[in-house]
């Protein structure tokens, strides 16, 4: 067994901070695909992607609750919090590229890779050396040059660390309870938001993330009877819904319709540099990034003692939806007919809030 990498509260907070960034990193990926779908088409796929994105928001909030419970301060505005796309995620021995893509078989393939449960073959294999050229989302924040075998193993490390620290330090969960986000503030996600006050609730919160999302395999349906994200996306590959009792490779529920052509062909992982300098469109793309930064600022406030701000963050999110839609429907000049898209190039501390 390799040495544990979480040996103090500070270590733990650094891990949770990395988890926060990791949970967030998938959201632009899902949103780009979701909003690329033509309005009133591809209902099945749109719902699956939307619900997953909302659950990533739930995961983000759960991580923030755990962080607050152990006295941390979630910060979504720090430089580097939003990755530069393409980003890299681990998938066992190898890692893979995560792009901002329009809804397409390639995008769904990426979603499946993000969410695929991967257990390390043995405890030794949980931690792996990072190749120097990679900028990985699931590196160890405390041991340099190390990354995790999978997102699932990353969370396993956190949960083990949490349990160890809680056993050593009875005051580990000393965070201010008023900083917790509860069901009054967070809604519309499969699975309820969990307020974290002790080891048990912290484990429940992390377990929920793990089961719904990128954790270790718990079967097609989780303990609450919900489909894990991986299997939701698999439905898009099979063209059929799962129902209770189904084996992973044979969903037998209702068919689901996909029309890959009812999609705005957004340029893959666009950058501001791709936009014509000084154009109205470039200004709109830059304004989106500013607004996205403001959204992250708002979330940071919600996670730092003003949980009611989450309501404002939802309004902000809806306005971002309209901005993304406008960008995506504009052709990007000089891109062979491809369309514009949000670049998510958010620098540092976010934009001004009105």
């Amino acid at each position: 067994m390799t040495d544990p990498t979480i040996n103090s509260r500070d270590d733990l907070i650094r891990y949770l901070d990395a988890a926060l960034a990791l949970e967030h990193a998938t959201i632009p990926v899902y949103l780009t695909a979701y909003y690329s779908i033509h309005s009133t088409t591809n209902s099945d796929a749109a719902h699956i992607i939307r619900v997953t994105a909302v659950e990533e928001m739930l995961h983000l909030t759960l991580v923030a609750n755990v962080m607050n419970a152990v006295g941390g301060s979630p910060d979504l505005t720090r430089p580097g919090f939003v990755p530069s796309y393409p980003a890299y995620l681990p998938d066992g021995e190898d890692d893979f590229t995560v792009d901002l893509r329009p809804f397409s078989p390639e995008a769904v393939e990426t979603f499946c890779k993000i969410e695929r449960p991967r257990k390390a073959p043995d405890p030794q294999a949980r931690l792996m050396a990072v190749r120097p050229e990679e900028s990985l989302l699931v590196g160890s924040p405390t041991a340099s040059g190390i990354r995790f075998y999978s997102i699932g193993e990353f969370y396993e490390e956190i949960m083990e660390g949490l349990q160890r620290l809680a056993a050593e330090d009875p005051k580990l969960f000393s965070g201010d309870e008023s900083r917790q986000v509860g069901p009054e503030q967070f809604y519309s996600g499969g699975g309820m938001i969990i307020e974290v006050h002790d080891l048990a609730s912290a484990c429940r919160a992390l377990q929920l993330i793990s089961e719904q999302g990128e954790g270790l395999d718990t079967g097609v349906y989780d303990a609450e009877g919900e489909l894990a994200h991986y299997y939701r996306f698999r439905q898009l590959q099979f063209g059929r819904y799962y129902q209770k009792g189904d084996k992973a490779d044979a969903p037998s529920g209702p068919e689901l319709d996909i029309d890959w052509d009812e999609v705005w062909k957004v340029k893959v992982s666009p950058k501001l540099a791709d936009y014509p300098p000084g154009s109205e469109l470039a200004a709109a793309a830059a304004a989106f990034n500013t607004d996205y930064g403001a959204f992250l600022t708002l979330l940071t406030r919600a996670f730092n003692g003003e949980p009611d701000r989450l309501q404002d963050a939802v309004w902000w999110m809806f306005r971002l939806r309209d901005s993304v839609n406008r960008l995506i429907r504009n052709p990007l000049p000089g891109s062979d007919g491809l369309h514009a898209g949000p670049t998510f190039e958010v620098t540092g501390t976010g934009g001004a809030l009105s």
Binding site: H38, S39, T40, Q311, F318, N325, R329, N330
Partner: protein, 164 residues
Amino acid sequence: MTAPSLDDFVALSVDLTAFGETDLLGTGLGSPYLAKLRGACGDAVVTALFAAHQAARAESAGDPDGFDRALRYRIFSDDCLGPVARNVIKLWYAGTWYGLPPEWTDSYGAQSAAQTSTVTAASYQEGLLWRAIGANPPGAKAPGFGSWAEPPRIDDRYLKGARR
């Protein structure tokens, strides 16, 4: 005669609606609306409308008052182009093609122009009217729980009003 171009259509529409090109193309409906216009009125009328718009621009040479007058003289007061230009405004603002009156279709043909219709299910949702009043089209583009308790997000320059 070359087919009326989307660029010309958008340039005209920017002046008629006071929404920018990015906003108009951002509805995703530029091409469908142009197709609707051409289908309803015929290319000859559409080309004449675009030409009148360009002539008004050239004639006023950047003077806003002159441009307004030129639009009124060349387009809005024109028997043929006036109703069509007003329909283009309504198309962008409401997402609906309003049937042109019989006196128009009697003079200029193109009977399909007389039919009131939505262009696509999306066109209602993309009506600029709703953005102009800081609201969402009812039934789409929800603003979020409780947002209705806040003041509307209407640009300051419209708040003082010209009503009184």
